[in-house]
């Protein structure tokens, strides 16, 4: 693997990174001064509200535009008849990470809740009422809903451009020698990201310059996309996205409402603000689709997996392809002689799915972990012992070595903390009062992708510095952890660092997604700092007046705002003195973060998750009473924030296992629960004693900083652990997530 950090020796990692700092944006967030997109109130701002379709398939035949425009305060109603032109149809896929979207291109309705008009008014109240007054009429077709109501097809790709099929080893031979053939079928429900901040945009034109405040996980790419749709130069667009009120994948995607607000602002020559209503987030901004997964495991007489076959059928929309790559979650977790993973898909009348925290991995892991648990019991093994027996020493999908894998240590530490060793093998063995008690476990695993990022670092005459990159902080703590890495790259204390981020005029930091943002943007920032220090060292080493004069090029180390000679720690010089003697006010370096070349090792974060549940035998109600995970994810930049990320992921696992489910009325194709009262996410009282431990792991291969990712890891493993604990309590294997109480009585 090529090493993107080609400058070694000057800078020291670890002075700031590795410390448990509290969030640098903490004061802004606890005082209400952190500004989210909808908090902007430019002078003269108009409020926009979208009217949405009440059918799932068909055409809009009438909108009472006159009634809406007659309402006091309504300025203009946009429909397909008068929507200003776009340079590119929103039905074009403008790049590989673009979704087809609805921006009033025609009168077609392709899912319930699709935008069918935009009402712009002087006040939010008038716009809301105007949208209601449109009273749409439709020519409705019968909706196609769900795994069994849609149109099956064979997808050419899954996720973003991935192959739907993988075969490794000789399946027939591997299956022939097996002692047991086990089959598990699991369904998972459609889930919606439901970031607490509804998607919003405030758009303002000044001449031909466009300013946009909108939460976005990849603002460099978003700028290019907006420019393409509008037919303008990206340089004319400034996107500000300093804070995202949660993203989870749904804010990596542009949606038609953003384009409409921008067009209306231009047309009306006034700023326009649009915020989706909660129920409007169940369609145009992605979701995790329903899946049905079939896992076939063949186990040899010694309890080793000889063949693994994982097939997923996932729902996608009628007009675009995002196929949940759940089978791929089985590629690299357990050793097997042979494997086959395949995908099918079903077109239905819903919004197009997209990446949602641990896409593919979360539902795939849920099914895999249930199947593994079933196999362990069938072969008479403790679930942990069975997993250790099938521990993958190399990646079974590719045969490659792992870049690092401290999964054994994760299992051991979490099992110890959980007191797993006392677990009886038989289900239904434990009680707490009248409640059934069960213990289950799962393996957490998530890949370590890197994307593309760039950064600048500028050292100032006083020895302080500013770094710049368009990173997105959606809660993972980028403002803090990236600043820690940047400060180490520059060899200064973090208090002397100004961190500029969150707007599109800065170097592109790539996407905050795939659990790769800290590694990617962090590498760019570190390299920018190192590039600056390299130049600074050259100044000093070539200056006879410097105490560093004569040290060779790799002969100094930066720390605490000084360069030190490696061969003589008593000889050092402050940055400001080197700059002053060189007559420089500023010294600027650039850095990039990316993985170069094809990976030569398999790269994953790992973990072991252990769950205890209590099940009411009469009501079927399940409560998670203990949840303990231990995770190995390379260098942990900020343990305080990494713990929060891991806990958050684990709690998403609780929601996945027991609560989250968007329910369609199959006759109308409309949701019955498109709100936070009907679509249940975990609340505080759902979260028991919970702990995330981190296990030390040095990874010299994953990237030059040794950073993996923690944002999505906690979701994997946890769902299966809870499902397996429910089985251990009740003897009933879940056939579906979320587990319904009625399935347990």
């Amino acid at each position: 693997m090529a090493d993107v950090m080609n400058i070694q020796g000057h800078v020291r990692l670890g002075s700031n990174a590795g410390q448990s700092m509290t969030r640098r944006d903490g004061v802004l967030k606890v005082t209400g001064r952190a500004t989210y997109a909808a908090d902007n109130r430019p002078e003269g701002v108009l409020h926009a509200v979208t009217a949405t379709a009440g059918i799932a398939r068909g055409r809009v035949t009438h909108l009472d535009v006159a009634a809406a425009e007659a309402h006091p305060g309504v300025v203009k109603v946009y429909t397909p008849a008068n929507r200003p032109d776009l340079a590119v149809s929103p039905d074009e896929k403008i790049h590989g990470f673009a979704w087809r979207t609805e921006a009033l291109q025609d009168d077609t309705v392709r899912y319930a809740g699709q935008p069918i008009a935009l009402v712009v008014a002087e006040t939010l109240e008038a716009a809301t009422e105007g949208a209601r007054l449109l009273a749409p009429r439709y020519d409705a077709d019968t909706p196609r809903i769900g795994l069994d109501g849609g149109v099956p097809f064979q997808p050419e790709t899954v996720s973003i451009g991935a192959s739907p099929t993988l075969e490794a080893g000789d399946m027939d031979a591997a299956r022939a020698g097996a002692a047991r053939h086990l089959e598990t079928v699991i369904e998972t429900a459609a889930q919606y990201h439901n970031a607490l901040e509804p998607h919003a945009i405030t758009a303002r034109w000044t001449g031909d310059r466009l300013e946009i405040d909108t939460p976005n996980q990849a603002i460099g790419l978003a700028k290019q996309s907006f420019a393409a749709y509008l037919g303008i130069d990206p340089a004319q667009i400034l996107i500000r996205s300093p804070f995202l009120g949660g993203g989870f994948g749904s804010k990596a995607i542009l949606f038609g409402g953003q384009l409409l607000a921008i067009l209306a602002a231009k047309d009306l020559d006034r700023p326009v603000k649009l915020a989706l209503r909660r129920e409007q987030m169940y369609g145009p901004v992605g979701h995790r689709p329903a899946t049905r997964q079939t896992l076939k495991l063949d186990i040899d007489p010694q309890g080793h997996i000889s063949a693994l076959d994982h097939h997923t059928i996932a729902v996608t929309s009628s007009f675009d392809d995002f196929i949940e790559s759940a089978s791929n979650a089985s590629h690299s977790v357990y050793a097997t002689k042979a494997m086959r993973t395949t995908h099918g898909a079903v077109r239905a009348d819903t919004g197009t799915p997209g990446p949602m925290r641990a896409p593919g991995e979360a539902p795939g892991s849920a099914a895999l972990e249930v199947a593994i648990d079933d196999a362990a019991y069938a072969m008479g093994f403790d679930p942990l012992e069975f997993r250790l027996r099938n521990y993958a020493e190399t990646d079974p999908a590719t045969g490659m070595q792992f870049s690092s894998k401290a999964l054994r240590e994760c299992y051991a530490q979490a099992a110890e903390a959980f007191a797993w060793k006392d677990r009886p093998l038989e289900p239904g063995s434990m009680k707490q009062g009248r409640l059934l008690k069960g213990w289950g476990m799962g393996t957490a695993q998530f890949p370590c992708p890197m994307f593309q990022a760039a950064a600048h670092a500028t050292l100032r005459a006083d020895g302080s510095a500013v770094v710049e990159t368009s990173a997105a902080d959606m809660g993972q703590g980028a403002w803090t952890s990236l600043a820690q890495i940047a400060a180490d790259g520059l060899g200064i204390d973090i208090d002397r660092l100004e961190f500029r981020s969150g707007q599109s005029s800065l170097p592109d930091a790539g996407v905050a997604g795939g659990s790769g943002h800290t590694a990617t943007a962090g590498t760019a920032l570190f390299n920018a700092g190192a590039d600056t220090i390299r130049q600074l060292a050259e100044l000093a080493l070539n200056d006879p007046a410097s105490p560093l004069f004569g040290a060779d090029n790799a002969g100094v180390t930066a720390r605490g705002g000084r360069l030190y000679r490696n061969d003589d720690d008593t000889r050092s010089e402050a940055y400001e003195d080197i700059l002053a003697r060189a007559g420089l006010d500023l010294l600027r370096g650039d850095g990039k973060g990316a993985r170069e070349g094809e990976p030569e090792r398999a790269m994953f974060s790992h973990g072991g998750v252990f769950a205890e549940v209590l099940v009411d035998p009469d009501l079927g109600q399940v409560r998670v009473s203990r949840l303990i995970g231990a995770f190995a994810a390379g260098r942990i930049v900020n343990p305080h924030l990494a713990r929060s990320q891991l806990l958050g992921g684990m709690i998403w696992g609780i929601g996945f296992a027991l609560q989250e489910e968007a329910i369609h009325d199959v006759r109308t194709g409309r949701f019955t629960n498109a709100d936070l009262a009907g679509y249940h996410i975990p609340v505080n009282a759902d979260v028991p004693m919970i702990e995330a431990l981190t296990v030390h792991e040095d990874d010299p291969f994953v990237n030059s900083l040794g950073i993996k990712g923690v944002g999505e890891l906690g979701v994997t493993g946890t769902v299966g652990a809870i499902g397996n604990a429910v089985w251990h309590a009740t003897g009933i294997r879940p056939k579906r997530f979320p587990i319904h109480p009625e399935s347990l009585i």
């Binding site: 509290t22 606890v30 909808a38 409020h47 006040t123 607490l196 949660g246 958050g648 609340v683 505080n684």
Partner: protein
């Protein structure tokens, strides 16, 4: 017809012209007088992001018609700190990492301030979790939130004792 709504917000009494009786207290705070610290997450009383205190009691301001609160005393997240000195609940949320994206945080904090004042939960984590369960956090910072409320309760008990 414009009506004048008298509110005391964070200790300052204000006359607010309201030109639309449909305006919720949340939208008046955010869109008319620019106190955008209070957030809109669902606009129907299901998430708690818009929690403010009215005469010391926590309410979902998205479900409150502004004009029905004429004369009320309102505390929002902007009214807790005294200059640079954070309220103990705010400080505890930072210390315990009781938030990630920060969007639900103003509501969580207002709810926590009232919960502590209500004195029902005390230092019992189970009761804190229950008492904070009207405030959703999609980042799921619940462990930190519970810890923050307990920390702040202890800090405020010490202040009272001093």
């Amino acid at each position: 017809m414009t009506q004048i709504l008298k509110l005391t917000i964070n200790g300052t009494s204000q006359d607010i012209p309201i030109d639309d009786p449909r305006a919720t207290l949340l939208d008046v705070l955010r869109e008319r007088i620019g106190l955008t610290g209070t957030k809109k997450g669902c606009d129907r009383g299901q998430c708690g992001a818009c929690t403010v205190l009215i005469d010391g009691r926590r309410i979902n301001s998205c479900l409150a018609l502004a004009l029905s609160y004429d004369g009320a005393e309102i505390t929002t997240v902007e009214g807790l700190a005294q200059g640079d000195l954070l309220h103990p609940v705010q400080a505890a949320f930072i210390e315990a990492d009781g938030f990630q994206c920060g969007y639900c945080t103003p509501g969580q904090i207002m709810s926590a301030v009232a919960l502590i004042a209500e004195g029902e939960a005390g230092l019992d984590p189970e009761r804190v979790r229950e008492g904070m369960s009207g405030n959703l956090c999609r980042c799921a910072a619940y462990a930190g939130i519970t810890e923050a409320v307990l920390k702040a309760t202890r800090a405020m008990n010490r202040e009272d004792a001093a």
